[in-house]
């Protein structure tokens, strides 16, 4: 057995010391050195599904968009018409290249006079540069500024997240709808509070600046959640939680250039505005999408993983973009790009695992609903 370590050249979270004290095992992810798990991926996963967990997701990026044309810049560079998203509202969207492929998926929050964009880990420079180039190209009075290193992001997720966090703030969290946001104090620290997350559970995310403010807050949230047996959660469970809900992971699901139509993200496209990549998407729609993200639930024991081939009658028909074991279902689950003609729900495909072929049924997303 080989045990590998990779700690070089990676950014550490401002909360690294807390994670060490909590006994975290670390992993490298998109240039960041972050907790993989503290005790066990499975237990952390189940804590979030059944009660509450606290994540440090400071590896995610923060980009301010300011200027009189900030709304126009977002409308131009994302698949959303930003004029629809009122103040203190947020939106999950995607930034496309001219050819319709996804540069990054991101949430933006509409705050007074500016927007906070939250791109994926390691995408801060690419996204900031892209937005500034487009602002210049289209003569828009708007500027993107990468402030990723100035923020800590905490995510409190799970059915008990509201009760936990409510103990620390006078702001009425129940007034916040999905993707709503606010600026208020939590544990005495001013934060951007949003009802967002990557777990499919009730949950909140806090954007905290400067990073030092997050030290006390992290521990206050752990204390507030004690009665619910709150657990700190690493990236391992973050990955299995999102996979059960069929949420895309940028590095996996958009690898090699995928359009929102291929990635089953049509639901986030607002077609009633002009945006970069729209023309290419309309063309793809007309010509037909050749491969689409497909959801496979294994009916034999085994672990599907990123990069494995998918076959039908010995013919290669697709490739796994994300796979793993579902802690809730205790079976292997995978998302795979499969040729459109082979992705009928209920059909059986084979996932090639080393020299074996593992039967998997095509199912409708998500893999896990309310029950776990």
């Amino acid at each position: 057995m080989l045990i590998q370590f990779s700690i070089y050249m990676n950014l550490k979270s401002p909360l690294h010391k807390i994670h060490e004290q909590l006994g975290a095992k670390f992993t490298e992810f998109a240039g960041h050195y972050m907790p993989l798990y503290y005790t066990s991926i499975k237990n952390e996963h189940l804590a979030v599904r059944r009660s509450v967990g606290l994540f440090d997701v400071s590896h995610m990026s923060n980009v301010w968009i300011e200027g009189k044309d900030a709304e126009k810049l977002l409308t131009l560079t994302t698949v959303e018409d930003a004029s629809r998203i009122g103040e203190y509202r947020g939106q999950y969207t995607a930034i496309l290249r001219e050819d319709g492929t996804i540069i990054d998926d991101t949430i933006f929050l509409h705050l007074p006079e500016k927007y906070m964009l939250i791109p994926n880990a390691g995408m801060n420079e690419t996204v900031t540069q892209w937005l500034n180039e487009k602002a210049e190209e289209f003569s828009l009075d708007a500027k993107a500024e990468d402030v990723s290193r100035e923020f800590v992001i905490l995510a409190i997720q799970g059915p008990k997240s509201r009760e936990t966090l409510q103990k620390l703030t006078d702001f009425d969290l129940s007034s916040l709808k999905l993707f709503g946001c606010a600026i208020d104090k939590v544990g005495g620290i001013e934060c951007i509070i949003s009802r967002t997350g990557y777990t499919g559970e009730l949950g909140y995310e806090l954007q905290i600046t400067p990073p030092d403010n997050a030290f006390d807050l992290f521990m206050k949230i752990i204390d507030a959640g004690k009665e619910f047996d709150i657990k700190p959660i690493g990236l391992g469970a973050r990955d299995t939680l999102r996979l059960e809900k069929c949420f895309a992971l940028a590095g996996n699901e958009f690898e090699g250039g995928r359009t929102p139509l291929e990635a089953n993200l049509s639901f986030i496209i607002n077609w009633d505005h002009e945006f970069i990549g729209k023309e290419a998407l309309l063309k793809q729609k007309e010509e037909g999408v050749k491969e689409r993200l497909t959801y496979l639930r294994c009916i034999e024991k085994g672990m599907p993983r990123h990069g494995y081939d998918v076959e039908k009658n010995g013919e290669r028909v697709g490739r796994v973009s994300s796979g793993g074991l579902s802690p809730c279902l205790n079976v292997g689950i995978a998302m795979a790009y499969v040729k459109t003609e082979y992705r009928k729900v209920g059909d059986i495909l084979n996932i090639v695992i080393r020299n074996k072929r593992l039967k998997a049924e095509i199912v409708k997303p998500p893999f896990v609903g309310k029950e776990c």
Partner: protein
């Protein structure tokens, strides 16, 4: 952190342990290895009767996060696999030296045991 390292076993640098009973070598992975892997969810076994050389891959252990090959610490014929693990792979995490054993090998060259590490030496490489 080397975890528990029983004195009566021999160890491979690749984190397998061997317990010798007559000509049979029982093989598993160490406490240190299971703790690095965390949550083991699947074991792929060889066919019984398979002949292996020291250092050959004999099993694949999958955890939530990674795939790891397990190498034969001695040469011989695989005569037994731990079928219990097919339904309860977590026993490797819970009891790496007892219930979590992987395979038994009928040794073709018991002298190879001399290339393996003592508990003390294994502790040094994982310490």
């Amino acid at each position: 952190m080397s975890g528990e390292v029983p004195e009566n076993l021999k160890y491979a640098k690749t984190h397998e342990w061997v317990e010798v009973k007559g000509n049979i070598a029982r093989v598993g992975i160490t406490d240190h290895a299971q703790s690095e892997l965390t949550d083991i969810v699947f074991v792929e076994f060889p066919e019984t009767g398979k002949v292996v050389k020291q250092g050959d891959e004999i099993c694949v252990v999958e955890s939530v996060k990674s795939v790891s090959e397990i190498y034969a610490p001695v040469s011989g014929k695989v005569v037994n696999i731990n079928k219990e693990l097919e339904d309860s792979p977590e026993k490797i995490n819970q009891s790496p030296y007892e219930e979590g054993w992987l395979v038994e090998i009928d040794m073709s060259n018991p002298d190879e045991l001399n290339n393996l590490l003592s508990a003390e030496d294994y502790k040094k490489i994982t310490g």
